[in-house]
């Protein structure tokens, strides 16, 4: 019996005592041996349906109401019930305490894997990566979501569901261009947001004086007075954060609409770091769970059978089919992340001459966890791949680059393979694909004719002369025009600074009618 009692659990069944033992065992290894630094953990056991719920509201435990979440729910549910797709084993939320959702169907081994992966791997990454530190406020997010939910519910009661829905639709369409890409001066404090909203409102009420309406207006300055440069400076143009610009400068929005834009913008900003660190985040978590599970097995806390079960799921997770495999659907971030973390471990502990030449700083340094922790803290996907994708891994994965230029070649040109000439090019290109600043369409607001017809002018700086999707752009511009409430013009500009295409949209009348009566 002494041998059996060393094991954390036997078989597949688990209860809350088991979860506690698993967590404590993982914690001992994660904090003691791997030196991780995590937020306090909160583990929540949920059902399949609750997992689908979480899926449809971008993983958050509470969210405002909007039809699009219903659509996602219905979609995921149909896929899941039809047996076309499995659900994720876990969802983890970047908050403090760090909330991990565990599915009730998981076996005890799977729960161990998930706790090691989410509650320690992701948790450490959230707490330490510079992007998350800079852009997200883990302590405040849940309170902020609560505020957002109740604020939007209050708006619905007050201004009508239709008006709120129209505003949210428009805000969602512009969500991808509602983030600040460069850090400002102050750290965000989401907990403060609710208070600030109340302050703004109180201030407005305080300074309201109906008399001002009756004062005869002074003569407006003529259009010529406000010259182009001055106008741009006054409005902070060019501006790539469209939602921010609308919130601050759209002339005819109601205060509550500005607040809704602000909410959507904050949420987009909260998810911005996750989009930039997919490979690293999953790589770090997968590497962590792999180390923890190995140690548990070595310490005889995990039986051989359970260890095999773990290895099976682990290999499924980090499986990368080759390009000609029917299962291929792009590069698996788990696989790439995990392979790179393992490769770094190899470089640190057992470098070859090539590694010494390519990575003089870390080759043979001897302490893999120390190096990895530093990397996890200071890089994002793009810079991580640019720095640490080694020739060894490129050879192992047999990476190659296809260049698709329909005008020049009939077929696809193989422009680089895993050889001496190709390593750097492959690495540069792959890194670039993970740079979301490069991947997202580059759109900025360049001018507003405030004195004239108030037309808003935007530029799309085309990448490789690739235009925007025509049918989508119409819809998005319509939303933008509705919010701006005057004409909107989008010019697509190619690399030679020539305007290739123009799109315009005019606002619809009475879209936010309920708001007009208030």
């Amino acid at each position: 019996m002494t041998k059996a009692s060393a094991e954390l659990f036997q078989g597949a069944d688990w209860d809350f005592g088991t979860l506690q033992r698993i967590h404590d065992a993982c914690e001992e290894i994660a904090l003691g041996e791997l030196g991780l630094d995590v937020y306090p953990n909160q583990i929540e056991v949920i059902t399949t349906e609750q997992m689908l719920d979480a899926y449809s509201s971008t993983g958050m435990p509470l969210f405002y109401r909007h039809w699009s979440f219903g659509k996602h729910f219905v979609h995921h549910e149909a896929l899941y019930r039809g047996g076309k797709r499995d659900l994720a084993y876990e969802i983890v939320i970047n908050s403090s305490p760090c909330i991990s959702y565990l599915m009730e169907e998981n076996t005890a081994t799977m729960q161990t894997l998930v706790i090691a992966h989410a509650a320690f791997g992701h948790n450490h990454f959230f707490k330490n990566n510079y992007l998350f530190k800079l852009w997200t406020d883990a302590e405040g997010i849940l309170d902020y979501l609560e505020f957002a939910k109740s604020y939007i519910a209050r708006c619905e009661a007050r201004y009508g569901e239709a008006a709120v829905e129209a505003t949210l639709d428009a805000a969602h369409a512009l969500m991808s261009h509602g983030v600040h890409r460069y850090a400002g001066k102050t750290r965000i404090d989401l907990r403060d947001e609710e208070r600030r909203q109340q302050e703004r409102r109180a201030h407005e009420e305080q300074i309201f004086n109906d008399l001002w309406r009756t004062v005869p207006g002074t003569r407006k300055r003529s259009a010529a007075d406000v010259d182009f440069e001055k106008r741009r400076a006054a409005l902070g143009l060019p501006q790539d954060n469209i939602l921010y610009f609308l919130e601050k400068s759209a002339p005819r929005l109601q205060p509550w609409q500005r607040e809704i834009l602000r909410i959507v913008r904050h949420i987009a900003q909260y998810f911005h770091p996750q989009r930039q660190t997919k490979v690293m985040n999953e790589g770090a978590a997968t590497y962590t769970h792999y180390r923890i599970m190995q140690r548990l097995h070595e310490r005889k806390k995990l039986s051989d059978g359970n260890h095999l079960e773990f290895l099976k799921s682990h290999t499924n997770v980090v499986f990368q089919p080759t390009y000609d495999d029917p299962r291929f659907s792009g590069i698996n971030p788990y696989a790439l992340g995990f392979a790179m973390m393992q490769d770094i471990e190899r470089i640190v502990t057992d470098p070859t001459d090539e590694d010494r030449e390519w990575f003089p700083d870390i080759a043979g340094q001897g302490e893999p966890m120390e190096v990895l922790r530093a990397i996890w803290a200071d890089y994002r996907d793009e810079s991580f791949i640019r720095q640490f994708l080694s020739p060894h891994l490129i050879r192992k994965w047999r990476l190659f680059q296809l260049h698709d230029a329909p005008e020049i070649h009939e077929g696809l040109l193989v422009s680089a393979i895993h050889d001496e000439r190709g390593y750097k090019r492959l690495r540069r290109e792959l890194a670039q694909q993970y740079d979301i600043g490069w991947g997202d369409a580059r759109i900025e607001i360049v001018d507003v004719d405030l004195a004239g017809n108030r037309r808003l002018v935007l530029h799309h700086l085309m990448l490789n002369d690739c235009p925007l999707d025509e049918s989508e752009i119409k819809l998005v511009l319509q939303h933008l025009a509705d919010l701006w409430s005057y004409e909107v013009l989008l010019q697509e500009i190619d690399s030679a600074e020539k305007v290739i295409r123009e799109h315009t949209a005019h606002p619809r009348e009475n879209l936010y009618r309920a708001s007009a009566t208030s």
Partner: protein
């Protein structure tokens, strides 16, 4: 570390979002339902189930790049290529390209999801009603509704009228001069502060008197208690009967019968679901008519010549026997290919115009045609006959149906809420 069991949380967290989505998608869903009706067998027309929605109008647009332009892909698993090779594009260029681009593989072109039977029927029967349900009677099988009728001194605790009870208690307390709590407390305080023994005794006697009185006059007495009283009042019930007259003669092709049956099936579902108290009489006729049950009506074959008057006569007879026109709202829906024996024309016309229509709230006539017919040209004997009758401002509507996909619109049209009835649309 905390472990929280969320499994017991209330279910259906995204129900509201789901409903909002359905509301938004209503037009698209109704379109999809019509589509789905065409392709289903007659038995499972309305079983709910899977719906394919085109995603347009429900899309969430964003600034996305169009396909095309210069692109680079990094792929794993090179075995044979060397730098500078030119390889052919993968077949099925669009699919191959999106796969190469490593996008998420969920094509959302047609968006599939499953409606529950309830949701399906609600959407399906939206905005339909029986026209002119005018005759309301207190029927003999009385349905009752409880109506508030003052207060009573007895009743179940659940209908205790708290407000009334406390009001009565207060009246009684005031009338009987129940000592106030504050007075007693003031007296007690006075006793504590009192110095002379003599006064104290007097005060104590007074206190005793007061406390005794307050015990005799309780705060709430059983006498005060009142209950809300309900009286059962009979509710006027609308009685309605729908006659389904179907021609099953030899001239009706399989296609026509299928159309007619589909129409009646919609009607049947609509009536049974929307109106609890609607009776349905199924009559099928060749040269003679018979009343049948729904199973026979829908599923068993028959053939022969055509005499429309037989069906109308049967309907008149049944009305005479069972459905007193002064109490019942009478409706009829007739489906036929429009053929009628020549000699029967005037008889049927007379019957309909002078005997049936005056009794009916609404009479709908569906003429079914062959698939290759043009539904706008119509000159069948029955159609002409009915058109003449129709000219006399009767509650008669006529439609012609040739294809499966016309069934639902026609049905919807005939029973649309609040429409002005009696019209001819060939």
């Amino acid at each position: 570390m905390h472990i929280i069991d969320r499994r017991l949380n209330p279910r259906g967290k995204s129900l509201e979002n789901r409903q909002r989505f359905l509301r938004r998608a209503k037009d698209a869903v109704q379109q999809a339902i019509k589509q789905s009706l065409q392709n289903r067998g007659i038995r499972d027309v309305l079983d709910g189930g899977e719906i394919h929605l085109p995603i347009g109008g429900l899309g969430e647009p964003g600034f996305r790049r169009a396909a095309g332009g210069l692109r680079d892909y990094i792929l794993p698993g090179n075995r044979t290529f060397v730098e500078g090779d030119i390889i052919p594009r993968p077949v099925g260029s669009a699919a191959g390209r999106s796969r190469l681009a490593g996008e998420d593989d969920d094509s959302e072109d047609s968006f599939r999801f499953v409606l529950t039977r309830e949701e399906f029927l609600d959407m399906f029967l939206d905005e339909l009603e029986l026209p002119d349900l005018a005759k309301r009677r207190l029927s003999e099988t009385t349905e009752v509704v409880p109506v508030r009728a003052g207060y009573s001194v007895s009743g179940p605790p659940s209908s205790l009228a708290v407000g009334r009870t406390t009001r009565l208690a207060m009246m009684r307390r005031i009338a009987l001069h129940r000592p106030k709590k504050e007075d007693i407390e003031a007296l007690e305080r006075a006793i504590e502060e009192c110095d002379s023994e003599e006064d104290r005794l007097a005060l104590k006697a007074e206190l005793k008197l007061l406390t005794e009185k307050s015990r005799r006059v309780p705060y709430i007495d059983p006498l005060d208690v009142r209950y809300r009283r309900f009286e059962n009042t009979p509710k006027p019930v609308v009685k309605a009967v729908m006659f389904c007259l179907m021609d099953v003669s030899g001239s009706m092709t399989e296609h026509m019968k299928d159309l007619a049956k589909r129409f009646y099936l919609l009607l049947y579902l609509f009536l049974t679901r929307r109106y609890e108290k609607v009776e349905i009489v199924f009559i099928r006729h060749t040269e003679k008519a018979e009343e049948v049950d729904e199973q026979t009506f829908f599923y068993s074959p028959a053939s022969g010549g055509t005499m429309v008057s037989s069906a109308l006569a049967a309907m008149r007879a049944i009305i005479g026997e069972r459905y007193d026109p002064t109490e019942w709202n009478i409706y009829a829906a007739q489906a036929s290919d429009g053929d009628n024996s020549y000699s029967d024309g005037s008889v049927a016309g007379q019957l309909l115009e002078h005997e049936i229509l005056p009794l009916c709230q609404y009479f709908a006539y569906i003429e079914v045609g062959d698939e290759d017919d043009d539904s706008s040209s119509s000159s069948s004997t029955l159609w002409q006959l009915y058109q003449d009758i129709h000219a006399g401002k009767r509650p008669l509507s006529m439609r012609k149906v040739c294809r499966k996909n016309e069934i639902f619109p026609v049905f919807h049209d005939l029973f649309r809420k609040g429409q002005v009835h009696s019209e001819v649309v060939p």
